[in-house]
C-alpha cells in the first residue's frame, strides 16, 4: 500500500542518542483467554512465538507478541502482513470468545538508539531502567501521554504511542535526547 504513510514520515534527530520515527508497523490487538490452547496456536501461527508471560514480549525477527493485560496481547508483524495476520488469528481463535483488531494505523513507533538511551527515556517515563529485564515490555506514559516500550536491541528501545500524538512524542524525545542533557555524563 504505497498510499500508507506514517504520521511523521520517518523524521529523526541526533542528540546524545538518536531518536527516529520507525515507520509503519503491523500491530494487532488480541483479547481472549491467554492460557487457552487455541491462543497458543494462534500466536504461534501469527508470529512463531509463544504467548508472552505477564509484562513480557516475545520477539521473533520482525514479528513478536507482547503482553498488554491479563486478557490482551499486542501482535507485531510487518505492516504489509497485518491484514492477512488478522485473518490467521481470527481463524485460529474461531469458536472461542475473542476480539482481534487491526490497530497498525492507530499507532506510531519510535526508536531510541544509543548507549545512553535510558537516559533520554528516564526523563519521560517513570520506569526503573536498572531493574528492567531483557524481554520486558513496559506500558507506561511518556510525559502526558500513554506509551509502551521494550528493549529492541543491544542499545535500542522501541517505543509505541498513539498516532495522533506522534508529533508530541517526537518533540519529547528530541528535547530529552539533546546533547548536554546526559543524565549521567561520563
Amino acid at each position: 500500500m504505497s498510499k500508507a504513510v506514517s504520521a511523521l514520515g520517518g523524521v529523526s534527530h541526533s542528540g546524545f542518542v538518536d531518536v527516529a520515527e520507525a515507520g509503519l508497523r503491523g500491530m494487532i490487538t488480541v483479547r481472549g483467554d491467554l492460557a487457552s490452547a487455541k491462543m497458543k496456536k494462534a500466536v504461534k501461527a501469527a508470529t512463531g512465538t509463544a504467548v508472552p508471560a505477564a509484562r513480557r514480549i516475545e520477539l521473533n525477527g520482525d514479528k513478536g507478541a507482547a503482553w498488554m493485560s491479563p486478557d490482551e496481547l499486542l501482535i507485531l508483524v510487518p505492516y504489509a502482513e497485518a491484514v492477512a495476520t488478522v485473518e490467521t488469528l481470527e481463524k485460529a481463535l474461531a469458536g472461542d470468545h475473542h476480539l482481534v483488531a487491526d490497530v497498525s494505523d492507530a499507532r506510531s513507533v519510535f526508536t531510541v538508539r544509543g548507549a545512553k538511551a535510558p537516559e533520554a527515556l528516564m526523563k519521560l517515563c517513570p520506569v526503573d531502567f536498572e531493574m528492567l529485564e531483557e524481554g520486558e515490555i513496559r506500558r507506561t506514559r511518556a510525559a502526558q501521554v500513554a506509551a509502551a516500550f521494550w528493549k529492541s536491541g543491544a542499545d535500542e528501545f522501541t517505543l509505541v504511542s498513539f498516532r495522533s500524538v506522534a508529533g508530541y512524542v517526537m518533540g519529547l524525545l528530541e528535547v530529552s535526547a539533546r546533547k548536554g542533557g546526559e543524565v549521567f555524563p561520563a
Binding site: K3, D105, A106, P126, A143, V165, G167, Y168, S176
Partner: protein, 993 residues
C-alpha cells in the same frame, strides 16, 4: 572593610579569576566563590534592603538559610530575581543587582518607613482592612502594592531548558557532610542501591571547616578518601548541586539539581527535577546556627559565627579586621580561633553565660583574647555597616558598660537541626532542653506503606553536635558493619539558652531586635501578637509574617517561637513549631514545568489530514486535545463568510468534513448485544448486520451522556461511534461496567478511534464524487440510508456508511489512518468538477441545527434527559432495563413541567445570543425575574437567510407559535417564536436520495 585575604581559601582557585558586576560596578572573584563570598571579598557588605522598613541588609550566613543577600541575577531571558548569593556559584560575567530599593541601594527613600515603625506593627496589614473602611481601597492597597515584593518579575521568555528525571533507589541519603558520607559508605558496602545527594558543589559540610580529625587525619582528607571509595562502588550514585526539596508519601522524594546555574548557556539543561522513589530516606541535613536577638542585630556586618569562619576558611574572605564574637555556647569560639589563625583581630568574646570554661574558651584566652562572661550586646552601633558594639550585663536591662569598636559581629545562639525532610511526611520532634533545640523523635517518624519508618535522621540533623557522635549515629543508623569511623574534636560545655539579649531589655531595644530580617519581624512584633491573642504559633506566624519570606524562617522560627512561648508564659514544646512544608529552598518554575513548554506544553492530537488542513487555511478550534478546523479561510475572507460559503457548497454541491476524531469502539462477544442494550437507551441487539442505528447513552442518573451511530459489523461485533470528546470516557465507561459489574458477561471492547481516518462526503453531488473514485456500488438500492458496506473505493480499503448529520445525501467513509491523507487528496481531486471544498466544525454545527439535530454539550449539559429533547423515539419501551431507565421514571424526571426542546425563530430575523434566558411573569424569592426557558444553540442560517435557534422551554412543544421574550444586554429584548426545531427539509427527502 570586608576583604580578600592574601592566603588560604580551600574552595577558591586563585589561578582562575572571574569578573562580575554588582549594580553595574565591576568586581572580581575566583572560581569556587559563591556570589556572597565574591561580594564580601570585594568589600560589598551592603547587598539589599529589607521588605518593610527598607533597612540596609548585609550577608548574614553562608548557606541556604540566608535571609538577606538576595539579588536579581542575569538579564533578558536569563534574568531571575531573588537569587540567594550564599548558594549561587560565581561564574565569569555574572550580572547581579540588589533589590527592593528606590532610587538606589545606598539611598533608599523607602527607608523612611524605618522611622515610622510604630505605625507598621505586627498585623498592620490586617489592621488596614478594618478601619476606616474606605482606606484599604484608596490608601493602603495602592501603597502596599507599590512597596511589596522583593524581586522584579522577569520580562523575557526563559532561554533555558528544564527537565524531569525519574529515579529509584533503596536508600537516598540527603546531605554530603561527614554523616551522609559515613552512612553512604556503610550502606554501599551492604550492596544497597544508594544515592547520596548534596545541595552545594562541595562535599564534607562543616567538619572540614571546623578542623575535625577523623580516623587520625584531617576531615578534608577523610572526605576525599571516602568520596573516592564511594565513586568506586557501582551501587552508589553521588550527586552534588542537588537539593532534596520535599518528601511525600511512599518514599517519593523531589530533588532539585542545579546543573548549569554556574555555566549558563553551555547547552545543558539549567535545572533537573528528580522524581525519586526511595525505599528509605536518610536525612543527614546538618544543623543551622541561630542568631541572637540583640538591638541592631540586622546591621550589615552582623553575621552568624559559623558563616564568619566559613568565609575565612573556605574563601579566604575576612568580614573585617576586628570581629567581636557574641555567643551563648562554646562552638562560636572556633570562629575566634579561625580569625586569629588568619591573622585577624578579635577584640573580645562576649559570652552570655556566667562562666566560660572548657577547652575552647581556654584556647581563645590563651591567644590573648578577652572573654567577657555574663555579658551581652546592648546594641550594635552603625548604619550601613557595623562600627562597634556596646556591652552590657546579660542579666540586666542594657546599661552600657563599655563600647568596643569593631567591623563585624559574629553571633551564635546555638544550633537547630535541619528537620524539614524529617517533618514533611509527619515525622515528629522533641524539645531537647539541654541543647536548646527541636530534634527528631525516633519513636514518631514518618511512616511508609508498610507502617515502618520511612525516614531516619542522622548526625547533626538528629541533634548530635560533636563529630564523634555524628559518625557513630550515621554508621549505626544504616546498619553499618564493624565500628564507625572515629573522630576527635574539642569537648564543649553546655549551651545556655538566650532568647533576648539582654534579658531585661526594654521596649526601645526590643523594637530593634530582629527575628526575621527579610520580612522585618522583630521581638516586639511577636510580643504584640501574643498580647493581641495570637497564641497559636501558626496564627502568630501569619499575623506577624515571621518566617514567611523566601528563606521560610530557617534562622528565625525557633527564636520567634521561643519569644512567643516566653510572652505566653509557657514552655517551648507547648508552643511547638510551625509546619515544615516543601520546598526546602525555593525551586525554579522552570524545573516544575520540566519539558512542558512551547510545542510540547501539552499533547496536541492531530488527524492524518491535519497538515493538509494547516496548509489550506484551517482556522483551528480545540476539541479536547484535538485541533479541528472551525472553517477553512481563503485569502481575504472572514470567518463568518467562510462558514457561509462552506454551508452553501454542501447544500448545493458537495463538501468534505474530517470526522476522524469521532470515537470508534469495537464491542464484541456473545453478550455484546445484551451489553449494548444496557448501555444505549434503544435496542442495539436487534440491529441487522450491515445496518447503522443512532443511539443515546445515559448515565445511571438518567442524564444524556453521549450519542452516536452504532454499526453492526458481524453477528457478534458492533462498532460504536462516540462524540470526539467522549471516546476515551465512553471506552472507560464500558470497561468499568464490564470489569466491575458485569464481569461474567462475555464482551471484549477495543478503542479503535485512531485506526481510521473518517471523512464525511456531504451534498447532492456526494454520490457522484464517490462514483468517480469507483470500486463500490453506492447506489440508493445497493447502499440504502442508514446502512454500510465494506469494499475498495478508488483503491482504498474503505467502510462506507450512509449516514447524514447535515441533512444532505451523505456518506461517511472510514479508511486506515495511514492512508487518510491520500484518500482526502483523492477526494479533493475527484471533486474538482463539483467545486468540492472542505468544511469545518462550525458549518457542521449550523447544518445540524438547521435539521434540528441535537449536539452533546450544546443541548445537553449534564442535567438534560433524552425525554427533554423529544427523543422518546430513541428510547426502547420493550427493554426491561438500560442505564438511566429507573432514574428517568422518578417523579421529577417524568414531570410534564420540565423544559423541552423547541425551535426558536426571532421575529426580526436576527440571532439570539447563546445561553439567553426567556423570562416569565413575576419575580422569584430573590427578586429576580422568573424564567421559562433558555437557548441551547443559536446560529445565523445562510441556507434560510435568518437566525435560527434551539432551546429548552417550559411546555415548549405545546406552545408552538407563541412568542416569548429574551432580555439581552442593556434592556433590549429579543422576541422569538416557538417553532418546530427542524428548520430544513422536514421530510428528510434530501438525505434519502
Amino acid at each position: 572593610m570586608s576583604t580578600r585575604l592574601q592566603k588560604g581559601g580551600r574552595l577558591i582557585d586563585r589561578s582562575q579569576p572571574m569578573s562580575f558586576t554588582f549594580n553595574g560596578r565591576k568586581m572580581q572573584g575566583y572560581a569556587g566563590d559563591t556570589l556572597a563570598s565574591a561580594l564580601l571579598g570585594a568589600d560589598q557588605m551592603l547587598v539589599g534592603r529589607s521588605f518593610k522598613y527598607h533597612r540596609p541588609r548585609g550577608i548574614m550566613s553562608s548557606g541556604a538559610e540566608e535571609p538577606n543577600a538576595l539579588v536579581g541575577l542575569g538579564e533578558g531571558g536569563r534574568f531571575e530575581p531573588n537569587q540567594r548569593t550564599t548558594t549561587t556559584e560565581l561564574f565569569d560575567g555574572a550580572m547581579t543587582a540588589s533589590q527592593n530599593h528606590w532610587p538606589s541601594l545606598e539611598f533608599d527613600v523607602g527607608a523612611i518607613n524605618d522611622k515610622f515603625y510604630r505605625f507598621l506593627p505586627a498585623g498592620f496589614y490586617y489592621k488596614t482592612f478594618m478601619f476606616p473602611r474606605f482606606a484599604w481601597k484608596h490608601v493602603f492597597e495602592p501603597f502596599i502594592r507599590q512597596s511589596a515584593g522583593l524581586g522584579k518579575v522577569p520580562e523575557a521568555r526563559d532561554e533555558d531548558r528544564y527537565e524531569y528525571a525519574y529515579a529509584f533507589a533503596d536508600l537516598v541519603i540527603v546531605g554530603g557532610g561527614i554523616a551522609g558520607l559515613a552512612a553512604a559508605l556503610a550502606a554501599g558496602k551492604q550492596g544497597k542501591r544508594v544515592w547520596l545527594i548534596e545541595q552545594t558543589p562541595n562535599w564534607g559540610g562543616r567538619a572540614v571547616v571546623d578542623g575535625v580529625q577523623i580516623e587520625g587525619q584531617d576531615a578534608d582528607a577523610w572526605v576525599k578518601e571516602t568520596l573516592q571509595a564511594l565513586e568506586g562502588m557501582e551501587n552508589v550514585t553521588l550527586r552534588s548541586r542537588t537539593m532534596a526539596s520535599g518528601l511525600y508519601d511512599h518514599g517519593y522524594l523531589l530533588m532539585y539539581e542545579r546543573i548549569a546555574d554556574h555555566t549558563p548557556g553551555d547547552g545543558r539543561p539549567r535545572h533537573r527535577l528528580w522524581r525519586m522513589r526511595a525505599g528509605h530516606i536518610v536525612t543527614a541535613t546538618g544543623a543551622i546556627e541561630r542568631p541572637l536577638s540583640f538591638a541592631g542585630n540586622d546591621i550589615p556586618g552582623v553575621m552568624l559565627a559559623s558563616a564568619v569562619r566559613d568565609y575565612v576558611v573556605n574563601w579566604a574572605v575576612s568580614p573585617g579586621d576586628r570581629t567581636v564574637i557574641v555567643t551563648n555556647n562554646d562552638d562560636a569560639y572556633r570562629t575566634a580561633l579561625a580569625l586569629l589563625d588568619a591573622g585577624l583581630a578579635v577584640p573580645a568574646v562576649i559570652d552570655a553565660r556566667p562562666e566560660a570554661k572548657g577547652d575552647l574558651p581556654d584556647a581563645v584566652r590563651a591567644r590573648g583574647v578577652k572573654v567577657l562572661e555574663g555579658k551581652g550586646i546592648a546594641k550594635v552601633k552603625g548604619g550601613k555597616r557595623v562600627t562597634g558594639v556596646s556591652v552590657c550585663l546579660q542579666a540586666g536591662e542594657g546599661a552600657e558598660l563599655e563600647t568596643i569598636a569593631c567591623d563585624a559581629v559574629a553571633m551564635s545562639g546555638g544550633w537547630s537541626p535541619v528537620v524539614h525532610l524529617w517533618s514533611h511526611c509527619g515525622g515528629k520532634l522533641n524539645w531537647d532542653g539541654a541543647q536548646a533545640m527541636f530534634r527528631p523523635d525516633p519513636a514518631r517518624p514518618a511512616t511508609g506503606a508498610d507502617g515502618e519508618a520511612m525516614v531516619t535522621a542522622i548526625g547533626s540533623a538528629n541533634g548530635h553536635l560533636s563529630a564523634a557522635d555524628v559518625l557513630e549515629d550515621a554508621h549505626k543508623a544504616v546498619g553499618g558493619r564493624g565500628t564507625a569511623p572515629g573522630a576527635v574534636s574539642e569537648a564543649e560545655e553546655p549551651i545556655m539558652p538566650v532568647w533576648i539579649m539582654p534579658q531585661g531589655a526594654g521596649p526601645a531595644l526590643r523594637f530593634k531586635m530582629w527575628l526575621d530580617p527579610q520580612n522585618d519581624v522583630k521581638v516586639s512584633d511577636v510580643q504584640l501578637a501574643a498580647r493581641e491573642g495570637y497564641e497559636s504559633v501558626e496564627h502568630a506566624k501569619r499575623y506577624t509574617t515571621l518566617g514567611m519570606a523566601t528563606d521560610q524562617g530557617k534562622i528565625s522560627n525557633i527564636n520567634g517561637l521561643a519569644i512567643l512561648s516566653d510572652s505566653l508564659n509557657q514552655a517551648i514544646p507547648a508552643t511547638g513549631t510551625t509546619t515544615f512544608r516543601p520546598p526546602y529552598t525555593p525551586i525554579s518554575m522552570g524545573a516544575i514545568a520540566g519539558e512542558a513548554r512551547g510545542e510540547i506544553f501539552q499533547p496536541l492530537r492531530k488527524t492524518p489530514m491535519h497538515e493538509w488542513h494547516e496548509t489550506h487555511g484551517a482556522h483551528w478550534e480545540p476539541v479536547g486535545h484535538w485541533r479541528r478546523a472551525y472553517c477553512f479561510l481563503r485569502t481575504g475572507e472572514g470567518v463568518h463568510d467562510a462558514v457561509n460559503r462552506e454551508i452553501r457548497q454542501v447544500r448545493n454541491s458537495v463538501g468534505l468534513l474530517d470526522a476522524s476524531t469521532l470515537g470508534k469502539i469495537l464491542v464484541k462477544g456473545p453478550d455484546a448485544g445484551r451489553f449494548l442494550d444496557m448501555l444505549y437507551t434503544n435496542m442495539m441487539s436487534t440491529l441487522p448486520v450491515g445496518k447503522c442505528r443512532y443511539g443515546l447513552m445515559c448515565n445511571e442518573n438518567g442524564f444524556l451522556s453521549d450519542d452516536g451511530v452504532v454499526v453492526r459489523l458481524t453477528e457478534d461485533t458492533w462498532l460504536c461511534h462516540t462524540t470526539t470528546g467522549g471516546a476515551d470516557r465512553i471506552h472507560g465507561w464500558m470497561e468499568d461496567w464490564l470489569q466491575c459489574e458485569w464481569w461474567d458477561w462475555k464482551v471484549y471492547t477495543a478503542n479503535v478511534t485512531e485506526q481510521y481516518a473518517q471523512v464525511a462526503i456531504a451534498g447532492p453531488n456526494a454520490r457522484k464524487l464517490l462514483d468517480k473514485l469507483g470500486g463500490m456500488d453506492l447506489s440508493k438500492e445497493a447502499l440504502p440510508f442508514m446502512e454500510w458496506r465494506e469494499g475498495t473505493l478508488g483503491g482504498f480499503r474503505a467502510r462506507v456508511h450512509r449516514i447524514s448529520f447535515s441533512g444532505e445525501l451523505s456518506f461517511e467513509v472510514a479508511v486506515p489512518a495511514s492512508e487518510g491523507r491520500a484518500f482526502w487528496e483523492a477526494l479533493i481531486a475527484a471533486g474538482e468538477e463539483f467545486g468540492v471544498m472542505p468544511y469545518g466544525t462550525e458549518a457542521m454545527h449550523i447544518m445540524r441545527a438547521e435539521k434540528g439535530f441535537i449536539m452533546i454539550g450544546d443541548e445537553t449539559d449534564g442535567t438534560v434527559i433524552p425525554q427533554d429533547l423529544n427523543l422518546q423515539w430513541a428510547i426502547s419501551k420493550k427493554k426491561d432495563d438500560y442505564l438511566g431507565k429507573r432514574a428517568q421514571e422518578r417523579s421529577f424526571m417524568a414531570s410534564p413541567e420540565r423544559w423541552k426542546l423547541v425551535g426558536l425563530e426571532t421575529l426580526d430575523g436576527g440571532v439570539i445570543p447563546d445561553g439567553a434566558y426567556a423570562v416569565a411573569e413575576g419575580h422569584n424569592a430573590n427578586g429576580q425575574r422568573n424564567v421559562q426557558g433558555r437557548v441551547t444553540s443559536t446560529y445565523h442560517s445562510p441556507t434560510l437567510g435568518k437566525g435560527i435557534a434551539m432551546g429548552l422551554v417550559k411546555h415548549g412543544p405545546d406552545r408552538m407559535g407563541e412568542v416569548i421574550d429574551f432580555p439581552v444586554d442593556h434592556g433590549k429584548v429579543v422576541k422569538a417564536r416557538i417553532v418546530d426545531p427542524v428548520f430544513y427539509d422536514k421530510e428528510g427527502e434530501k438525505q434519502n436520495v
